[in-house]
């Protein structure tokens, strides 16, 4: 799950980035620095949360989320409160909530067929483009827009290769090489108009957004 705020360039970040992160560290002592630059700082907490604050956007992500989102929501609330207040951000140009679900399969064909079998896409049979083959790694994408909110939905089969190679001479750790075949359901729910900071609270936005995404995803996932 990814939560994001975009805003006009907040130059105060150059003066106050340290104060913001110090404040976040007080509440989250396990925070670890991953990347630091004048326009972007990335930190992680317990290899579960990733926090990024940039000149023009702020992003908080949670990986392998549990059934309860409470700790993610609490983290978003405190980081947004600190950042918006410190950077004196009056207006958000975009507020986004992106939720990505994955289901693993044994093979590329199995992942592909899982999406093809939903009949969301019209796929012609037989030989095409001079290729006698099978459709692989299909990708379906559609976007809805109102004048205030929008959502982009992507359903796709994909393949990832995970390779972890220990340092030369390291004998304790075995190298890892693994292919992952998965079906991904990805929804990006966001505002289209601007939002005043006084209108916004992360807990309301995330709770409301998650409910909308779960409820309306049924149209794609079939209950």
């Amino acid at each position: 799950v990814h939560f994001e705020l975009r805003y006009d360039q907040a130059y105060l970040l150059w003066d106050k980035a340290g104060a913001i992160w110090q404040d976040i560290r007080k509440a989250n002592p396990n925070i670890k620095l991953r990347e630091a630059g004048p326009a972007k700082v990335v930190m992680t907490i317990d290899r579960r949360f990733q926090l990024t604050i940039e000149l023009d956007k702020l992003n908080i992500s949670v990986f392998t989320p549990p059934s309860s989102m409470d700790d993610f929501i609490d983290l978003c609330m405190s980081v947004v409160r600190t950042s918006v207040h410190t950077l004196e951000i009056p207006l958000f140009s975009r507020v986004g909530l992106r939720v990505i679900y994955r289901q693993n399969f044994k093979s590329r064909a199995e992942a592909s067929n899982a999406l093809i079998s939903t009949k969301m896409m019209k796929i012609p049979e037989g030989k095409h483009f001079g290729i006698e083959g099978e459709p692989r790694l299909p990708h379906y994408s559609i976007r809805w827009e109102g004048d205030k909110l929008g959502v982009q939905v992507i359903v796709q089969a994909q393949e990832r290769k995970i390779m972890v190679e220990p340092a030369l001479g390291e004998t304790i750790v075995e190298p890892i090489e693994k292919d992952v075949f998965e079906l991904v359901f990805d929804t990006d729910y966001s505002t289209i108009g601007t939002v005043e900071s006084g209108q916004f609270r992360a807990s309301e936005w995330i709770t409301n957004g998650m409910r909308v995404i779960r409820r309306d995803s049924r149209a794609f996932l079939g209950g």
Binding site: V42, R47, R98, R108, I154, K161, V164, G193, G198, R201
Partner: protein, 188 residues
Amino acid sequence: MPDAQIVQLFPTMATASNEIRSEQEQRVGVPTSVAEEIIRSPGRTLTVEELYPDLDTNQSILGSALVLLAEGETKLLDGETLARAGDQISADDATQHFLALLPELFCCRSLGDSFATVINALFHGLKNLNGVPVDEAQLTQMLSAIRVLRRRPFLEYDEALAVVARLEATGLRVDPRGLAIIAEALLA
């Protein structure tokens, strides 16, 4: 003939999906970070109701507060119209109906200190009148305060203090009555 170029017609953006991955991980096939959106010129500002379109008024404090604030705005608007028409009794009646909503709005104070401060000021401002009807200027400022809360329920504390100051400027005493007694005792 020059080489063909891929031209991006619209700048695009999506909610970032950076993930914690080992540096060695590689992706094959279609990447997941492709959700894209055409950037629009900054549109109009959303209302709170538009930003949270599916609030459950039974479970969400914000949902309850917005319903009460809308009702309060209607009462004050009626009161202001009646006061302008010279019907002070009906205007006062509308104000009393508004006053009855304030304890419920106070129950929504978990929305923030700023929200609670404004609601408190409205409540004590009306209570401290001791039965004297509100005048038109006071009604107008109370209406303005409720509209600020409807538009920005999570306003900054400084803004809430400015709203309270405007209420005080119309002659409303926004502090609890007991506080005045304590202050007088201390001064004595």
